[in-house]
Amino acid sequence: MGGKVTCTLGEVKQRADFIIYWGGNPAECHPRHFTKYTIMQKSKFLPRGRKDRTMVLVDIRETKSVKAADIFLQVRPGRDFELITILRAMIKDQHVADEQLAETGLARDVLEDLVARMKSAKFGCMFFGMGLSMTRGKHMNSAALLTLAAEMNAFTKFVAMPMRGHGNVTGADVIMRWQTGYPFGITFNRGYPRYNPGEFSTVDVLVRGDCDAAFIIGADPGATMPQPAIDHLKRIPTIVLDPHVTHTSRLARVHITTAPQGIAAPGTAYRMDELPLPLKPALKSPYPTDEEVVRRINAAIADKPFWLPEGSQPQMLTAQV
């Protein structure tokens, strides 16, 4: 069933002689990724730095990152999943017909060259961005690349990693996993965590109108989500915590201004490779931190009657084996 084979960014810096960026534009979205972690770094294993590494960029259009690439592969829009699946077949020497290869917008010799380079790498690493994970196919596109990386380990060392954006989204993922067992898309309505993306993920919940109050922190869905989702946020009581008065604040019942993290609020943030780093705020904000406000709201909720009636035990919805 494949899996997830990954590493910390220091491993890439030290060892990766072959790097693929897929559906991402680090030059503009993660500007120091090249210089700090990947292609530009020299290491004891790759003493000549950039010269010792090969970088392949796969995207549907030319971006500013192309300049940094040794090889640019322009895949047809919406054909990433097909291309990765073809590569999975090709590394196993399965024959894929020419006309089918052509659907991806790439020629056989180009892909054969790519497979040969992947297999002859000492340490390969694939980074994938939202151009892959947010286009048609979504989580299956990410799964495809992760599976390709896992399968490459039959030939050489290979890892894959998402290029997470949005500040500390990785921290939320990591914390939810240790406290609830699941990374996102969770409900506690039976008194314990249950998981089902699609059922409990926010866009779906809002579009279907499945919640009757919303607490929004560190995000501005009022600016980014589809209109039916925003409409539901307007219908229900919404509470927003943010350093700015945002689009979501304007449609909310309650907005509370808080100190921006890392600038005026201390704490921890996780890097995209799940490494926690301490924050060192420079400024003293006139506003309280998110942590403090959420803690105070929690205390106020805890003062009210507990939602589960005394002595009641909700039924679990367990898997039936």
Binding site: H30, P31, M134, M163, H166, G167, V169, A172, V174, I175, M176, Q179, T180, F184, I186, T187, F188, N189, G191, F200, T202, V205, D210, C211, A213, A214, F215, I217, G218, A219, I236, I239, H244, R253, V254, I256, T257, Q261, A265, P266, G267, T268, A269, Y270, R271, L277, A282, L283, K284, P286, P288, D290, E291, V293, I297, N298, A300, I301, D303, K304
Partner: protein, 115 residues
Amino acid sequence: MTLQIIDNATCTFCGCVCDDIQLHHDEVRIHKANKACVLGTAWFLNHTAEQKYPAALVDGREASLDEAIEVAATLLHEADMPLVYGMSNTTCEAQKECVAMADLLGGLLDSHTSL
């Protein structure tokens, strides 16, 4: 005026979370963010310690923090299916409190990841 310097500060704008930034600030404003990229520099320089917004808004009018917290708690407590969402641009410490909130409320919990 001499600026105060913070070494090895951490930038949380993107997933790179670079922790080698040198910040020069005067307590109100960050004037320089050495080593930060163009996105990180904008992130650091655009936030100030000024009081630009009201402490809180309740139904569109300015409110005290205490009042807003009480209203928020009441609205969330009354709901049959409250949702706790977001958690990208905040600290782990706040994220833990958010998970605790969803657990305490018996509600939904989700992050940007699900988008």
